[in-house]
């Protein structure tokens, strides 16, 4: 048997990481830091270590640290990721990490992106539930096995992290494009039998900046950390919009 000293413990050091971190606003630059590499270390751990030990002015955002809140997303070696659940050992290239704020959003400072337009687009996509007045009526009967409920359930676990938004080239090309997360939200509402304004939801996503702008590149689906499929939701919207047009409902 090996002695326990040879077993890696939670804080075993695996060497050193060089970490390039974006500093400043849009006209900023990369700054390099050396950070001890440990087992089970997440990218968020690395950022926190820099802030606690090397530079307390480093700005970034996080809250839950367990993949629930959607606030910690950044570009890690070029790809958008939730940093609290991304292990360094999976993404570091030759001991190197490059961290930048999320793409397709203005930078506030360092690793914090301005999420305003991302959430404004949820509003523009009419991403709000429209209740049916049922106080005096019967409850809605929702069949969990119906195709509609399955489509809605497939999309409701979105944490609003904007990883998909940062991955999407159409968002970069067309600043008005509502983007994968807002359209995915609209798709869940259109499939929700309790919603009172499903044709209103369709109308909100039917124009140039809506579902038809998507080129089905699928980068949103590829990167969504929660395994959602906005790309599929958007093809669903395209079909529904066309169907509504043919029926004269739009």
């Amino acid at each position: 048997m090996q002695s326990s000293a040879a077993q890696p413990s939670a804080s075993t050091e695996l060497g050193e990481l060089t970490v390039s971190v974006w500093r400043g606003a849009a006209d900023g630059r990369l700054e390099s830091f050396r950070v001890p590499h440990r087992t089970s270390q997440t990218v968020l751990d690395v950022v926190t270590w820099i802030q606690r030990h090397l530079d307390p002015t480093l700005t970034y955002r996080f809250a839950c640290r367990v993949g629930m809140c959607g606030s910690c997303a950044m570009m890690v070696n070029g790809a958008p990721r939730w940093t609290c659940r991304t292990h360094v050992s999976r993404v570091a290239k030759d001991g190197h990490l490059e961290l930048r704020p999320l793409r397709n959003l203005p930078v506030v400072k360092d690793l914090a992106a301005d999420m305003t337009e991302f959430f404004d687009k949820w509003r523009d996509a009419y991403g709000r539930f429209s209740p049916t007045p049922t106080a005096d009526g019967d409850f809605h009967r929702v069949d969990p096995e119906s195709a509609e409920r399955k489509a809605a359930s497939a999309g409701i676990e979105c944490i609003g992290c904007a990883v998909c938004y940062a991955a999407c080239d159409v968002v970069s090309w067309n600043p008005d494009y509502l983007g994968p997360a807002a359209l995915n939200r609209a798709w869940t509402l259109i499939n929700d039998v309790r919603d009172a304004d499903r044709s209103g939801h369709l109308a909100a996503v039917a124009d140039d900046a809506g579902c038809h702008a998507c080129h089905s590149q699928g980068s949103c689906t590829k990167h969504c950390p929660n395994g959602l499929n906005p790309s599929m939701a958007i093809t669903g919207l395209k079909k529904s919009v066309l169907g509504a047009l043919l029926r004269g409902d739009l």
């Binding site: 070696n77 980068s219 093809t235």
Partner: protein, 117 residues
């Protein structure tokens, strides 16, 4: 990290390649089809029909025409893939569909080359 690896980091997956190939073959067609028609027109004008036919026998011309047929096949099958993606029920076998589109396009191009030689 290099600009190229940064650009590739979020785009290196089949659906993105399919998009890229479809876009590039479309651009290629837009560029080369007019050229192809122009050259054909000039060749027919200048030479007798026999001369023209022997001109189309040249390897370089054949290669260029094959390229054009491949572009056409790639763009056509890519377009069919997009139609399938948007109008058929979603299938988790999107990668298979992409592969089929590429395979069919390649087969058409090779068949043309075979018949031309």
């Amino acid at each position: 990290m290099s600009t190229l690896s940064r650009v590739a980091a979020s785009r290196n997956h089949p659906a993105y390649w399919a998009f890229l190939v479809h876009r590039l073959s479309g651009l290629g067609l837009a560029l080369f089809l007019p050229l192809h028609l122009l050259v054909l027109g000039l060749a027919v004008e200048r030479a007798s029909l026999d001369g023209f036919l022997s001109w189309t026998d040249r390897p370089l011309v054949k290669l260029a025409e094959t390229g054009l047929v491949v572009l056409l096949a790639v763009h056509l099958t890519g377009g069919l893939r997009v139609l399938a993606l948007e109008f058929l029920p979603w299938s988790d076998a999107q990668k298979t569909r992409i592969a089929i589109a590429f395979g069919v396009a390649l087969a058409v191009g090779l068949l043309f080359l075979l018949l031309a030689v």
